[in-house]
């Protein structure tokens, strides 16, 4: 297993091995950070923070095969730290030049979805993003967030129901 080999090498202080581990799943890591931080610069910052923490703490990782879930937990914590720092500086939402596919109605819904999602409790927001935007399985989410599987299920159920309520709840039955 390449992964285990690389982890072993990293534990011996091989930086290239660590970079290789991350680069092997670079899009997964980047998207994960992006979903939390919503912009390229912060996502890169979070990954830099993460790799330093990984390097300094890799010796605490007992199961080499658990590297990916362990490192993603750390990445999420790095993202959350950046978010907390931003909260204190009160960011103004920057308008970017974007190209939006689809009609205005869809754009409106998209904006509302973004808004309603951000109004949810952080715990519910993050599981919905991890499940639906990154397509992670319940089990993986539970591992990364270090929260029991049942809790993840109920948080997703609760989060989706709240979104439905906010959108008017008129389609609660059609499943």
């Amino acid at each position: 297993m390449e992964e285990k080999m690389l982890v072993k090498k990293t534990k011996l202080g091989d930086k290239d091995a660590l970079v290789q581990l991350i680069m092997n799943q670079k899009n997964d890591y980047y998207r994960l950070a992006y979903v939390y931080l919503k912009n390229n610069e912060d996502a890169l910052d979070a990954m830099e923070d993460m790799i330093l923490i990984l390097y300094e703490n890799i010796y605490t990782l007992k199961k080499n095969s658990a590297f990916y879930s362990w490192s993603k937990t750390i990445l999420i914590n790095c993202c959350k730290r950046i978010l907390r720092e931003q909260k204190r500086t009160v960011p103004l939402e920057a308008v970017k030049e974007l190209s939006y596919e689809g009609d205005f109605e869809e754009k409106n819904n998209e904006m509302l979805l973004e808004k309603y999602l951000s109004e949810l409790d952080e715990r519910h927001q993050e599981v919905i993003k991890l499940r639906y935007l990154l397509d992670l399985e319940y089990k993986t989410i539970a591992e990364i967030l270090k929260v029991p599987l049942g809790t993840i299920r109920s948080r997703i159920y609760y989060g989706i129901s709240r979104l439905q309520e906010k959108f008017g709840g008129d389609d609660l039955e059609q499943d």
């Binding site: 980047y30 300094e56 190209s99 998209e110 952080e122």
Partner: protein, 432 residues
Amino acid sequence: MNRIEKMLKNKKRDIDIIEAPDALEERLRSALGDKEMTKIRRNITGKIIAACLVLVLMGYHFDTLAFYGNKLMGYNDVMNGTLKELNERGKGQVIDKSYTFKNGLSITLDGIMIDETQLLAFYTIKAPKGNVDESLPTVTLRGFLGEHMPQSGYGKINDTKTMMNNIHSFEPPGVLEKTLHMNFRFFQNGRVEEGEITFTVDRQKAMGHTLKANIHKSIKVEQGTIDIDSILASPTRTVIKGSIQNILELARDEINNERIRPNTLELKLIANDKEIQPQSGGMSTNMKGITFHHEYDALPENLKSLQLKLTRFSADHDVNKEIELTKGMKEQRINVHGQDLTIDKVYEMNGHTYITITTEEGTVLTKVYLLADDKRLELNKTSEDQYEKRKDGQILHRRTLEFKGVGKDYKMDIHRMTYVKDYNITIELPIQ
């Protein structure tokens, strides 16, 4: 699959196309730099000493932050002038209740201040390990009518990072909500730790309002009207509420393809010929149309005159304009919706088409495509941003738009555009 899941699925498509930038590998390598791998020896004695120190330090800090009579102590650096004065006059309600988390962190709700516009919570976080900045909690307030969402908040960390004094603003509780629960939540190593402080509101300490009036005045702007609906001033702050379009206007413009979505609205509140310090503001679009609220500092006591001045308004507009482009063209100035737009350069590279444009700082093409031989190319990214300040104070923004793909004949298809306009319109507000 229900509607929400479908919408999320649509959003997922946006995420799926995101790829880690090429710079990533380099950034990761340079972050590691010449970092040495260090193993930390576990030192149990050290931990015990640290734990003892925690207790000692906490006891020590407790005294310095204690209350003196009716006043909150320790918030001088955090409070603004208005709050300081109210505090001096003993207008706050002392709570002084603490919660200590397993990791040694503690939170003390020192006191609250309530009036008709908000509930202000004053609380102190103490982290004896000197890492108070690493773990700031999310704070919510719950009464029997439900959750009161935090509106804004700020705080100050001391030099040793062992303590942070915070002021957090919430919607005011209902008259019948006597008992409130303040909930603090930390994320640590992927786990959540929660703590709660329960307290009783002393209604006799609540301050009510100093000025409350419906205004119903409108300000005409280029694209419509801004309605100023009401003012509510309390001893701690002043809130102005208004709307930009009601739902009927929204629908009408939607049909006519002349939609606007406001971005910034700068309103200055002037009392007795002096500008009142703005504090915060927000705007939202929902079934009621587009509404906004602006918060300012409290009004002066002997109010003689009160005005509201519109200084700046920017919005996103439907434009629907096509501009013909030719490869290699240079510095062509065009006018779109009264805004100057200069096409600096059009060129191809690695299968992409690049267009460098310059506009005023506040002008952004919010929905733009490139038509290449009747193929529609999507905007991939915007890069190489440069800002130039001119002598007349105007700031120009030059950047390069990258479109995926190439073609022979080009047209830039601008669907929507945001731009800023300065105003100088003043309206009188009632003072009684």
